[in-house]
């Protein structure tokens, strides 16, 4: 996995991942969850936002297997909290992945050792 470039907006997300938590944003003006996490609310543009750990449970909204060497699965996973997030599905039979399938989060290190959330069949 390519290492994520450091960025003040993504720092809390990356710190949480080092602690084994998948962080999502919550707009405190509207109560709505959002992804990707950022310092402003994508619903109101205010900075009245909080970061919170997602349950890590979700379902596959769409999935493709990129036939690189080695092949890997790219997906959007719809989290229990609502947001659909861009991710990988790992530790699975790539050819058996299906839209609607239940998945759960786990963490894998990028090239620089930074753990990042990915998903595996639940």
């Amino acid at each position: 996995m390519m290492a994520p470039a450091p960025d003040p907006d993504s720092a809390p997300f990356l710190q949480a991942a080092r602690e084994g938590r998948l962080l999502i944003g919550r707009c405190l003006d509207t109560g709505r969850a959002f992804f990707y996490p950022r310092a402003i609310s994508p619903f109101t543009l205010s900075s009245n936002v909080a970061m919170e750990a997602a349950s890590g449970r979700g379902t596959i909204y769409s999935v493709t297997v990129m036939r690189a060497r080695p092949a890997y699965a790219v997906a959007y996973v719809e989290l229990e909290e609502g947001p659909r997030i861009f991710t990988n599905i790992v530790d699975c039979d790539l050819d058996a992945l299906r839209i609607g399938q239940a998945v759960r989060v786990l963490f894998r290190p990028a090239e620089d050792g930074q753990p990042l959330p990915v998903f595996t069949p639940a």
Binding site: M1, M2, A3, P4, A5, D7, D9, S10, F13, L14, I24, R32, A33, F34, F35, Y36, R38, P42, F43, Y61, S62, V63, T64, V65, M66, R67, A68, Y72, V74, A75, Y76, L79, G82, P83, R84, I85, F86, T87, N88, I99, A110, L116, V118
Partner: protein
Amino acid sequence: MSLRGKACIVGAYEHPLRKAPGHSVARLHAEVAAGALADAGLTKDDVDGYFCAGDAPGLGPIDMAEYMNLTRLRHVDATDTGGSSYLLHVSHAAQAIAAGKCDVALVTLAGRPRSSGTATGTRPRSWGPDIPNDAYELPYGRTVAAAYALVAARHMHEFGTTSEQLAWVKVAASHHAQHNPQAMLPQVVTVEDVVSSPMVSDPLHRLDCCVISDGGGALVVARPEIARRLNRPVITLRGAGEAVKHQEAGGIDLTYSAGRRSGAAAFAEAGVSPADIRYASIYDSFTITVVVQLEDLGFCEKGRGGAFVADGNLISGVGRLPFNTDGGGLCNNHPANRGGMTKVIEAVRQLRGEAHPAVQVPGCHLALAHGTGGLLGTRHGSATLILERA
């Protein structure tokens, strides 16, 4: 203010090269500019508006104006929405002309990803520094192919679209490309050829993907009074629309594109409907791109795009909606990985009656050109133009 009738495309030119290792990017821009101006019967000293996007070197309008020695510029625009930029430029040029900000606008595109060995669709790439979504996508191997494959997979899941239906888009493009001596892939292919080509990112096969090419293209947009003085058919902008669609804070819906809004705006301004369109240039980075956009533009119902493109319905002289009669990005050319320019150029050829005779649509008086830029599966811009021959 409506743009209807406010500006005309008076010059169009596609670079003949598909591989240009000996050309600088600036030279390619200048060569297509010269070609489009010659096509119009104008010179560089007639140009007072210049439009380019991120494929232009450096600070595009400044560095390219210097290279081409454009000295009369009084309006410039470097709007960059990826491959759709040049359709927006036509619309923005019409706005500038209508507002009196320029009279003759030059739009250029050029690049050489093929010579530089860019793994355009199959390696994760950032578009530049400080992009807020990169940290959440590039580590997961976000390739162009995967981003479009996610759209195709969801379309198949929701609507029952098949790989064979997608393949018909490539088959139609190849039927057109056989008549284009400059096309990179001039061989006619079958549905079986497409679905048996190697998988790139499920469900998209190698032949579901566009080509990677060097080259470029240019357009000249002018005030109607100027267009009528030139010795070329008068091609008028009748309607234009643009839109941006993205992940919407986690609410992404992969079943439709920004074309839904850009198309509706263009048709409303033009006062015509999809049934009136005789020829359509539709951005074809991948076969799925065409299917989704045809639905979003209203050529068929949402979810029926697969059935619509099947059985040769996009082949000129065979089907109801001739598309990309130059062979499109799928078979002809996708210069600088940005296919919007060539979409406009082929629409102009059709309206002038200057397409190859084997693919020319008889009496083509009303055409649509539509582009997307960025990634259909994450975030993209789109623009729709409706053009008519006076």
